[in-house]
Amino acid sequence: MPNLGVIISLLIIFGGLAWLLFRSLTGREVKRRVIFVFIFVAVAAPILFPITFEEHATPVVRDLFDRIETLPRGSRVLISFDYDPAMAPEVQPMANAISFHCLTRGHKVVCMCLWATGQTLLSNTINDVILPEFPNIIDGVDYVNIGYKAGNEGVLNVIVSDFKKMFPTDVNGVPLDSVPIFDEINSCADFDLIVALGGGRPGPKEWVLFVGDPADVPVGVGVAAVVAPQLYPYYPRQIIGILGGIKGAAEYESELAHRHEQFADMDKPGLNMMGPQTLAHITIMAFIVIGNIAFFTGRRRKDR
């Protein structure tokens, strides 16, 4: 049933666009209201009938995906949730997908945050993804939440050489010395991968400068779209992969769904958000093209 809706709405949009294109060949302009209707349909249809486009992971995204995919089972991955609810629509899908991916591959995941606001979002990921999807994993053995520590970059400066000095216990008050994951972890250098999620300060950039570079640990990042361009200069030498905005999240989800069947049935907020975005962008671009065709044919007519 939703498929029918998808087909009908796509037919409406693309059929309409083709008709407008044909009309514009005679130099006629499109009325503004027509554009409004198209934009509404392009955004509303994918919300009603989720349309997912085949997203192909770009190398920046795939590099991070492949790293998590190819790390041997039991590798230790640190995920830091450094963002607030305002950034969550973009970053939370990445957090969910990456946590899921790490646990599916059997990595041991340590979650923490440098932002006080990250704690709720961190527990959201644990409650929405980790616990329901992996009923058999054990807190402390397969994953651990060590919570929030105030101090921003100062925290990073300490954990780069001594983790337990800054985080003596996990979020439930269990001493890290008795948490099995931490048996072989003393500092950040003992992690096989660090994933920094965020977009503000402290955020991915600080993780690279204060931890990734000095401790020589690979860092992958997931950030809000507005800050993504600022991180590209660090790729691929200092950052192994970047997920930028909802698009990066969608690419990751699509890659994940491709390789791991279990994920294919899960909620994919990033990909869902991409439906309206993609359709609306295509529609706007199509209108720009149509406008130019109408403009040039109209001008040629006038010249004649």
Partner: protein
């Protein structure tokens, strides 16, 4: 008003009532169900009223617009009164006034100074009188003078000195981020992602020349001819490319806003999606 107007109005009122009833039924058992059902319907109705403006200006848009103007003006007035006047000013004016408004009095020997803005504020209100309107210029002078002084040094520092000093970049390669790897590497890695040697160098050059040409475009007291004119031409090109790019970049955020509103309509009001 013709007949069709009445018919449309009647249909809208009916739909509104229907939505109210249905939502009330759906929320039955909850506290304030009737009020909440009304308000959800109201919110959806107002949302659609604003969207109807896209078709053309109409009675429903006018309704929403005028209501919004009145409500928002009053909202800011209440907030301003309670937080600034009662919250910050009264506790410093006098102990009697603080007690009257049940605010803790913040004693300080300089509290007398807080009578000055009160007097200036009253002078501002003198605009409403015919003969003492000139008084309103005094508080205005205070505000404009203070912010002008503030802007003068702050902008000189942040928009001038800091920006100028950040154009001092090495054009022959950055030793930290992109060390010179030899000519072979330079030619072979023509990547735009700022990892290639060429891209790193091009970045610095484009930024440097872009800034210079952009500044040249903003020269007002010299005719834009010759080399100067060409530089200013390049300057406006770079500005235009940037404007186009940021326009394109913003589309995503705007679509997200629309997604939010449509989700509200479909989920919270119509219950079409979960």
């Amino acid at each position: 008003m013709n007949r069709s107007t009445y018919i449309v109005a009647a249909v809208v009122v009916l739909l509104f009532a229907l939505s109210w009833v249905l939502h009330t039924l759906a929320m039955s058992g909850e506290a304030d169900g009737v009020t909440r059902a009304f308000m959800v319907t109201m919110a959806a109705f107002l949302t659609l009223a604003i969207y109807s403006f896209l078709y053309k200006d109409n009675a429903f848009y006018k309704l929403a617009e005028h209501l919004y103007v009145g409500v928002s003006a009053a909202y800011w007035m209440c907030q301003g009164f309670w937080s600034t006047i009662v919250g910050n000013l009264i506790p410093r004016l006098s102990e009697g006034a603080s007690n009257f408004f049940q605010q803790p009095y913040q004693a300080s020997s300089w509290n007398v100074a807080y009578w000055i803005p009160v007097i200036l504020g009253i002078m501002l209100l003198m605009r409403l009188t015919k003969n003492y309107g000139w008084m309103s210029r005094w508080p205005l002078a205070l505000i404009v003078g203070t912010t002008a002084g503030l802007n003068f040094v702050r902008y000189l520092r942040s928009d001038f000195i800091v920006q100028v000093s950040s154009t001092f970049v090495p054009l022959l390669g950055d030793k930290e981020l992109h060390p010179w790897l030899g000519f072979g590497a330079f030619v072979s890695n023509l990547d735009l992602s700022a990892t290639g040697q060429l891209a790193a160098l091009a970045t610095n050059w484009v930024v440097f020349l872009g800034v210079i040409c952009g500044i040249v475009y903003f020269f007002f007291s010299k005719e834009h001819t010759g080399v100067f004119g060409r530089a200013s031409r390049v300057g406006i090109w770079i500005l235009m490319i940037t404007f186009g790019a940021s326009f394109g970049y913003t589309v995503m955020g705007r679509i997200s806003l629309l997604v939010g509103r449509i989700t509200f309509l479909f989920r919270d009001w119509l219950g079409l999606i979960s």
